[in-house]
Amino acid sequence: MTRTWQRWLPALVVPTLIGAGALVNASQAGATVDLPDRTAAQVLAMIGESSVDALSGTLEQTSDLGLPELPTEATGAGGGTGTGGAALELLTGSHTARVYLDGPSRLRVQVLDTLAERDAIRNEREIWLYSSADNAATHIVAPADQAPADESADRTTDEQTMPGHVGTPAEVAEELLAAIDPSTRVTVGTDTVVAGRSAYELVLTPRTTQTLVGSVSIAVDSETGLPLSVAVTARGQDEPAFRIAFTQIDLSTPPAARFEFTPPPGATVTELVPDLPSAIPESGIPGSTTLLGIGRPTVSGSGWDAVVEMPLGLAATVLTDSPLLEQLTHATAGGRVLESALITVLVTDDGRILVGPVPPERLLAAAGTR
């Protein structure tokens, strides 16, 4: 009898050991470290002083917005739903992407899908978009004057916030904190480890209760000041509703070949000429928004409970006729409401769209006051 028992021992011990190993592994992922204490202003200044201009890493994005599960055909990248479908697709489920960065003008992003991949490559003025699922490439040559603007965009944030005065990152951080203090409490949370690097956690908590956003937490690398993860938690929830984080990061310069792209033989290549500086390549015809009669957005409220309102014009009928919208929204007095953990969208019957990180009642009130 004892011998029988002994022989079943491995069958008990092995699963226990593996389970324990998996648990230890999981707990190490969220391991805490003890970094020298810093104030919120100091951590903000670290972001400003950050000098990382080359990296290769893996980003993981997860969304749990409480939206109903969508059929993959409706949200797939190659689907006929266009930009709306692609945007919705990013809001549901999770994605893994690899990012390569070398200086301000060379970037490659690879979104790793199952048995497929979507690439965006920028090499100086050359921009390529490639999707392996439909073997299609889009080529854009950015206007010459745009490149230097982009180049300095990161560096000049401090100049933009305070025209005519260039402060040190520390000063800027102090002033920025003072500016947002009436609406937001900024604290330094517990030190964490993200992608194997120790990081300070900057937590932004809205002071108003009129918003769906519970808190925004940013992990800031303790060595370089590079933000390693951003998580948005909805009010009253423990798990983040939206999170994007590095799972692996390497700060050495990626090989130059990573940014060179030649469309593969057999691929369909589309040349896009951007005539608007802010043309979004995916939207197809630049200026289509004006064709559809979409007006200028107006913002009511400020800070965390701001509501953006936009007359939709013709686009409203396109939206309300979409079966996807039917599936996502529910009818309410005066329109249709899409509710998610972080964002509420109201499409009114008279052709306006209201968006805000607020409960639906506030959107309805904002729609009614106009």
Binding site: R7, P10, A11, P15, T58, G93, Q110, L115, W128
Partner: protein, 284 residues
């Protein structure tokens, strides 16, 4: 391949003799050859169908990579693997793994193979090694048949990876071998499950069916998003992750995750099979 495995240099130790006899029995069976032939037929059917059809498949049509086949015959093997991973490969592996112990038990040959408790452990190892060798043979059959028929019917040239970069034929052959290795590793967990189920019964068909049903159940569970906490623990979760080897640069993360997961399955079900088999009364 199969013949290489049979003529493995045999040391005088009884374990190696047992292994080489197991492999020669396995790869001499008509059933094994029939299954390998059926697997080889998959890429051949795909290639011939694409070759004979009047219009080449458009991008995004049919199974992944199908539209690449007409441009480059080397994709036939990959397309065939994508097609055979959900059902055909688990089916054949389930037959071999489910037959390991139960087959000998039903034929009444099991008691002759066993001398003492140490003999039982050795027999388990040898049986599992045989099943693992079949996993490799099955995957390589699909890959090689695909490469050969693709090279015969379509042009062969630089291969376009998922990232849009192209690599030369030589590197694409290395990538294809890596993919075959990945798929072989993916099937090891299922083989261990089959080995364990095979120790539970003396009816080999029952063990085979149970193993195949489990592989289907795991894939169904993997497609239910409500159970996403369970997904990383399902042995079929990384089965299609071999695509990460077709990116530029290669993403090794899923290879590592898959290998770790399969190793855990092999250890757990190996231990269970040990517990069951060494305490089993095979003599009556």
């Amino acid at each position: 391949m199969p013949s290489d495995l049979v003529v493995r240099p045999a040391r005088p130790a009884a374990g190696w003799a047992l292994l080489s006899s197991e492999l020669s029995v396995l790869f001499r069976r008509r059933r094994t050859w029939a299954m390998l032939a059926a697997l080889a037929a998959i890429p051949i059917l795909i290639a011939v169908a694409v070759r004979l059809s009047s219009s080449p498949p458009a991008a995004g049509e049919g199974p992944p990579f199908l539209d690449r086949v007409t441009q480059n015959g080397l994709f036939v093997g990959i397309t065939a693997l994508v097609v055979s991973i959900p059902l055909f490969l688990p089916l054949t592996v389930g037959v071999v793994a489910g037959d390991t112990i139960a087959g000998e038990a039903s034929l009444g040959t099991l008691r002759y193979l066993l001398v003492g408790p140490a003999g039982r452990v050795r027999l388990l190892f040898v049986k599992y090694a045989g099943a693992a060798a079949f996993c490799l043979a099955a995957t390589m059959t699909v890959m090689l048949a695909g490469a050969l028929i693709g090279a015969a019917l379509f042009p062969v040239g630089p291969v376009t990876l998922l990232s849009g970069d192209t690599v030369a034929v030589a590197e694409s052959a290395v990538r294809a071998l890596l993919v075959a290795a990945y798929v072989t590793v993916s099937l090891l967990g299922l083989s261990a499950i089959g080995l364990f189920i095979s120790t539970l019964t003396e009816v080999p068909v029952g063990a085979m069916a149970a193993t195949i049903v489990l592989s289907v159940v795991a894939q169904v569970l993997d497609s239910l998003s409500q159970l996403d906490w369970l997904h990383p623990w399902l042995f079929s979760h990384y089965w299609l992750g071999f695509a990460d080897l077709l990116r530029q640069p290669i993403s090794w993360a899923s290879f590592g995750d898959n290998a770790a997961l399969q190793a855990a399955y092999v250890l757990v079900f190996g231990a269970l099979a040990y517990g069951r088999f060494v305490t089993k009364d095979v003599l009556t």
